[in-house]
């Protein structure tokens, strides 16, 4: 008789976005004359850059001609042309990542969840609270023990390691989703030192690195000395180049990342991951890889930068408004997210209802991301400039 993986049964459903949708539906039904401004959007809204569209169409044409048709990609790790482009991009970030250390994927979320396949179940996992739910859920499915490091007002929502806490797998995300906080070089050095001492592996999610404007903030964990011996980095073109619907990202497992097996032999994590992907993944669509390659050209970089600047201007509008209102927040700079303290001691959901009812502005209650999110609230910079300005004008009319 077949038995299911019962770890699934103990997982709470993620009600956050369902709850939000329900409340919005009820409000809209009762007030059809009051249009909402959605400032909780976690998705990009600007179209693909022209260079990206052109590259994808050219590749589609190639696939329609026998001489240029491409079938299975031999290794499934990504075509050399794209891995070389990514390796070159890392150089501009001040990190040395070779093409062989990169595997292209269909978005960071897949690898972020699937990477746990190569680790034993009995590892202890450490992640921050609040946290992007995927890190927790993919480890709960495997039945792993999870510890949380508190990200809260006292540390600027950027949790640091505690030497009395032992962990084997550490998830870090900077710029952070949902709090918009970023780790400084010194902070990342402490995490790397902690991981090396603990012989732990850091899974570093750099999906929002393109939003970093402060040149002193590392845009890759590999800007840190020693990180290649303890960290896997996952990045994505979703927010960098608006690829949320195109689906392409990349994972770096450095050659030096070697772990001892129980029989004493040295095992390269990159080899395990290649074995895993070899059996469970068949590579990324060729036209998508050509589209991704275009992102890293001079023209592509210029075009995607325009979109990022557009979102950054929105973030600035929000940050300036919060400054004016005397509301505390993290993010806004170096990040598309703004994480604010609900004014007047309101709870997350209380503030959600308040904003909806008074000014029809929608955000995301922070407690949906963990207990340290109670009393906090996430706004994003992904709406249009006009809507962002209008939403902030409405906020200023409130007695908060």
């Amino acid at each position: 008789m077949i038995r299911i993986n019962e770890n699934f049964l103990s997982m709470e459903k993620n009600y956050l976005f369902i709850d939000i949708a329900k409340r919005l539906a009820a409000y809209t039904a009762a007030h059809p004359d009051k249009p909402l401004i959605r400032m909780g959007i976690g998705d990009v809204t600007l179209p693909l850059a022209p260079a990206v569209v052109t590259a994808m169409k050219k590749a589609a044409d190639e696939m329609g001609v026998k001489e240029t048709f491409r079938g299975y990609e031999d290794s499934g790790a990504g075509y050399a042309f794209l891995r070389e482009a990514i390796s070159g991009y890392y150089k501009t970030l001040g990190a040395d990542v070779s093409t062989d250390e990169i595997r292209v994927n269909d978005g960071a979320k897949s690898d972020c969840g699937n990477i746990t396949d190569i680790f034993s179940r009995d590892n202890t996992v450490l992640m921050t609270d609040p946290v992007y739910p995927v890190y927790a859920d993919s480890n709960r499915m495997a039945g792993r023990n999870i510890l949380y490091a508190d990200s809260d007002e006292s540390n600027g929502f950027a949790a640091m390691p505690d030497k009395y806490v032992r962990a084997d797998i550490i998830y870090l995300c900077s710029p952070n989703n949902p709090t918009g906080s970023v780790y400084t070089k010194e902070q990342l050095e402490k995490w790397v030192a902690y991981a090396l001492v603990s012989e732990a592996v850091i899974i570093y999610d750099s999906a929002y690195e393109a939003f970093i404007t402060d040149p002193s903030i590392p845009r890759s964990i590999y800007c840190i000395e020693g990180a290649k011996r303890c960290a896997i980095e996952m990045c994505s073109l979703s927010k960098t180049a608006g690829f949320t619907g195109v689906r392409c990202g990349y994972t770096v497992i450095p050659d030096e990342l070697v772990v001892k097996a129980s029989d004493g032999r040295d095992v390269k994590l990159a080899d395990l991951w290649a074995r895993r992907q070899g059996s469970k993944f068949n590579g990324v669509s060729y036209p998508v890889q050509r589209a991704a390659e275009a992102v890293f050209t001079e023209e592509g970089q210029r075009q995607i930068r325009e979109n990022i600047h557009y979102y950054q201007r929105n973030a600035m509008v929000i940050a300036n408004t919060l400054d004016e209102l005397g509301i505390k927040y993290t993010g806004g700079i170096n990040s598309p997210y703004i994480w604010l303290k609900c004014p007047g001691g309101m709870g997350s959901w209380e503030f959600f209802d308040y904003l909806l009812d008074k000014v029809q502005v929608v955000g995301t209650p922070g407690e949906g991301f963990g207990r340290n999110g109670c009393g906090w609230f996430r706004l994003t910079s992904f709406n249009s400039y006009e809507n962002t300005v209008e939403a902030m004008a409405r906020l200023k009319t409130l007695d908060i």
Copy 2:
């Protein structure tokens, strides 16, 4: 200290294609004047259908315009337009599959491996020998016990259930890779009955269904009464429409497929899979989904049929030659694969070297797919017509 998943260490490397590549490289170096004909190709060679290319380019254009841009796909299960097209296609196969039972993926290999996440580790897995290595490898990674049902000459390489063998998860592939055998309706009825009695789940790989020409052979497991209570079906556009480099497939988990948890509650496998995919997958590229939709239009079906007929003609050329030479085989009809008995009692590798040396024709030694493949050999119909004819002419010159 981090511990790896040591199941990986006990997995043999898949040397088959590496070994083949080495022998070919050595032969070519020694005989640069003797060009090879590769009849072991497991990949398609004809380009995408024009309707598919047009649809993909149109979607790429949509992604470049703000009004038609698409970001994250809400459910990640596939757009309704594609799931409706697939559901409609199932009707033409005589199977009733609703849009809600379908999830679109980036190819059958991913789901085939990842589906095991929703099952407990202590299930016993049954698969045929010879077998597509992905079924075995993905379960070895999870540490599951695997039993093999012998597919051999005595049963036409179509293993049937043994009521004295207990299994919880059963992999079936028809038309079969590598043996080209197909299950009849009566045979599939026996497998479904066996699964229902054992309360087992069948994972049915129908990736080659489009090659079936005999109307009495089911092209979906759901053509069998009761299958919706015990079977998950995985299909792919890789071989149907030349999507090996485009990456799109689909998995069906019927609504009726309900399993009892240890606390007695009924759990729908589709719900577990949706939860798994919700945390570890973000949907398929929009332009790829539009390309896939085009496959199911009248024009698309007509165009992909032309390609399939081309490969079927090649298969016929091979089959006729083997008939003429009095060599036993399965497949060729209803399948792009031809699985032949090495003449003169030769072993798989012996015959490989013999063909290479005498006539420079390359195939795949059957023992790479399991012990019942010893003494057998796989040819495929994916080379050009001209090369297939030439390879068979060369075979006829041999004293076999």
